[in-house]
């Protein structure tokens, strides 16, 4: 449905050009927009005109016109004058409003179409028929999901639309309250770096223009329309996995989730089994700030004790003591590659479990 604001602006602009006052009613005689304070109650007259066969008529000093959209009366336009010139202006205004309404309807229908594709709500045969109708061709596309932190308002969508929406090749839509979806034509973006740069551009623009925190996830390239839904699911998963394992990144590609994607898909029961196997019945209280920083630094420095000690500003012996204390607590010597790997995976599984259960399973009091 064409917005009232849009209609009002259109009438105002036509009045500026023609110096003629106009009002617009819907087919039930209710006032939609006006360029002057319409005091006269013309509801009955409008309804009667709408039900008549005439496309235009002169009544009460005004020209009445029907605005037909898809052969149905959508609006009734009144031009407040009985001159020949007013009639011409009225006809032009009818064209303008009808084209606007049709464009909006088509846009709405296209938007609806894309939403249904994303959600997988469409039969393949319907998909291709409608795609033909909307002139949407099969080409390489990637779905980007922009997750907005906090309340998403209409203005935020407009920023993304401003960047891509005017293009006939890209589609900007939303299917829930939190996310904005961009279905991007990527035939000209051959490299992974180019896809990443679109994601970064989305994030940076949202930060600087809309001034909201966002996270952008994107899926793999797809060609067939029915696979767009898959790219969308991948983009959503990228965001979810990113929140758990790559919280410092604001753009996440599904194809680069690595071990995070594997762990994310492990059922909770298997996660619990694995954690019990590694740590025993109770998760040991080893995740103190000191230990977490020590382990993090140790892994960052590829299990190099000297470099880790240097960066932590502790003596080498102090670091060795900490690692031996850890080994006593959990039975894993993270100076050895196999144990370090097991521990790293266990930490990631715990992060996953914490996220899914909404509690931090790693918090505990200081170790003695």
């Amino acid at each position: 449905m064409l917005s009232i604001h849009k209609i009002q602006v259109t009438l105002e602009e036509m009045k500026d050009i023609s110096r003629l006052d106009m009002t617009l009613y819907n087919e039930r005689g209710k006032l939609v927009a006006a360029t002057f304070d319409q005091k006269e109650d013309l509801e009955e007259a409008v309804i009667n005109f709408a039900e008549s066969m005439a496309e235009s008529q002169m009544l009460a000093g005004s020209h009445f016109f029907k605005v037909l959209v898809d052969d149905e009366v959508a609006y009734i336009l009144l031009v407040k004058s009985s001159t020949e010139e007013a009639y011409m202006v009225g006809k032009l205004a009818v064209c303008q409003i009808r084209n606007l309404a049709e464009a909006y309807r088509e846009q709405f229908d296209r938007n609806n179409f894309i939403q249904n594709i994303l959600l997988g709500n469409m039969l393949v045969v319907d998909m291709y028929n409608k795609a033909r109708k909307f002139h949407i061709e099969q080409t390489e596309r990637v779905v980007y999901v922009v997750e907005v932190e906090g309340k998403k308002d209409a203005g935020i969508m407009e920023f993304v639309r401003g960047m891509f929406g005017s293009s006939t090749k890209d589609f900007v839509t939303e299917v829930d309250e939190q996310n904005i979806i961009l279905v991007k034509d990527v035939r000209d973006l051959s490299s992974e770096a180019a896809l990443e740069s679109v994601a970064k551009m989305l994030a940076d623009n949202m930060h600087s223009e809309a001034m909201v925190r966002v996270r952008v996830g994107y899926g793999n390239r797809v060609v067939n329309l029915q696979d767009i839904s898959r790219s969308y699911q991948e983009a959503k998963m990228a965001i979810e996995v990113g929140k758990i394992f790559y919280a410092d990144l604001e753009t996440v590609s599904y194809s680069k989730l690595g071990i995070g994607r594997l762990i994310y898909q492990i059922p909770m029961s298997l996660c619990e089994m694995f954690i019990r196997e590694v740590f025993g019945e109770d998760i040991p209280k080893i995740f103190t700030e000191e230990n977490v920083v020590t382990i993090q630094k140790f892994f960052e420095n590829n299990l190099n004790i000297s470099e880790t000690a240097r960066q932590l500003y502790v003596h080498r012996n102090t670091l060795v003591y900490r690692l031996e204390r850890l080994e006593k607590a959990i039975g894993l010597d993270i100076r050895r590659f196999d144990d370090a790997m097991t521990f790293k995976i266990a930490m990631m599984v715990l992060s996953h479990m914490s996220y899914q259960q909404g509690i931090n399973l790693m918090r505990g009091p200081e170790m003695e």
Binding site: G150, G155, E158, F159, G162, M163, S166, S167, S197, K200, M201, A203, D204, N205, H207, S208, E209, A210, M211, V212, R213, I244, F245, A247, D248, F287, V292, V293, I295, Q296, Q311, M347, S351, S354, N360
Partner: protein
């Protein structure tokens, strides 16, 4: 415009990674502060915490004396310019700058006034009707800045805005940003990984490494008086030369020996080494390529700090030459006058300006002699 106060600011992610540790900084009104450091040092994270795009794990952030930790980005009276900006391709320059204001329902006359003011500052007045594809790279960058200027913010935050530009355009835009700072009288916080950019733009530079502030100082002080090995190596191009040397203190005299060379330090530096108990210890000698020379005058002036080696690389820069050589197993560089007769393969003598020698504690990496 405004002042900024960052007290004990920390950023820790749920997985335990500490991106920023105990960051303390006071920014005065109208200052141009640069955050510089290698990739992953926490500079962008800190900027985003100031912007409100990243939650502050602990610490206090105040803008103009007001605590803003929990204030939404759009309510902090800031404007941002990022590396990967995109102009709205189907809108004119005017509409690009006006779009954000329009969506915030700013009245039309006010939008017009703000856009025209910004266009005047950025020299975009004649381009207001053009679309982005008809603009040069530099003009587009200015439009991106225009989008920030029209918000009339208290603080501008810029995150590597020039990184995507080619070298020539970067140099041009640097001077434009510097000019903009003067014209706007704005408080600007600017993030870059490029130390040359940092040195040319900032009134004060914050050097970061692994989430920790290494030093906060003016460009000249950072260059001449680095606090530690990291700052000394990061600031200055070509990089400072470092070589391990054994310190010997005899009375008021201190020497540094490496390979077969001995360098005698001036009294002030000798005293610092003596007072610090560095006699017999291995320290790190640092000397900038610019502070070495092979001319006869330099060799005669600095008789106590001569080293010799074979030239393994020769690069003519124009008015200067870079000579590459090895000493004590370490690859070093000297920047000498282009009139040098030294060529590739020649055996050369180089003198170090002992007043410009820096000595660092090998364990702590802190400067001893500044």
């Amino acid at each position: 415009m405004a002042s900024l106060s960052l007290k004990n600011i920390c950023k820790k992610y749920p997985n335990g990674f500490e991106a920023v540790k105990d960051f303390n900084l006071e920014v005065e009104d109208k200052e141009f502060i640069i955050f510089v450091g290698p990739s992953g040092c926490g500079k962008s994270t800190t900027l985003r915490m100031i912007a409100g795009l990243e939650e502050i794990s602990s610490g206090e952030l105040k803008i103009d004396g007001k605590l803003v930790n929990d204030v939404e980005p759009k309510d902090r009276d800031i404007a941002m310019v990022f590396q990967n900006y995109a102009l709205y391709p189907h809108m004119t320059v005017f509409d690009n700058m006006a779009f954000g204001l329009k969506l915030r329902k700013v009245p039309k006359p006010e939008i017009k006034q703000k856009v025209e003011e910004a266009a005047k500052i950025l020299d975009l007045e004649k381009l207001l009707d053009r679309k982005p594809k008809a603009l040069s790279g530099g003009q587009r960058q200015r439009v991106a800045m225009g989008r920030a200027i029209v918000r009339n913010p208290k603080v501008f935050l810029m995150d590597e805005p020039l990184s995507n530009l080619d070298a020539k355009l970067r140099v041009q835009m640097r001077s434009e940003i510097s000019g903009l700072h003067q014209r706007l009288g704005a408080t600007i916080i600017y993030v870059t990984h490029d130390q040359t950019e940092a040195m040319t733009l900032g009134t004060r530079i914050v050097v970061l490494k692994d989430g920790v502030i290494m030093q906060v100082d003016s460009p000249i002080k950072l260059y001449n008086e680095p606090n530690n090995l990291f700052v000394a190596g990061f600031i200055g191009s070509p990089q400072m030369n470092f070589v391990d040397a054994v310190c010997k203190v005899e009375g008021e005299k201190a020497t540094l020996t490496f390979d077969k060379f001995t360098v005698t330090l001036p009294p002030a530096k000798a005293k610092k080494l003596a007072d610090g108990g560095y006699n017999g210890k291995t320290v790190v000698l640092g000397i900038r390529p610019d502070d070495m020379g092979d001319s006869q005058i330099e060799i005669e002036t600095h008789k106590d700090s001569i080293i010799e080696s074979d030239v393994t690389g020769y690069e003519l820069l124009g008015s200067e030459v870079l000579l590459y050589f090895n000493v004590a197993g370490v690859s070093m560089t000297a920047k000498v006058d282009s009139r040098t007769t030294a060529r590739l393969g020649d055996h050369v003598k180089l003198a170090m300006d002992t007043q410009k020698i820096h000595v660092f504690d090998k364990e702590t990496e802190q400067t001893i002699t500044n």
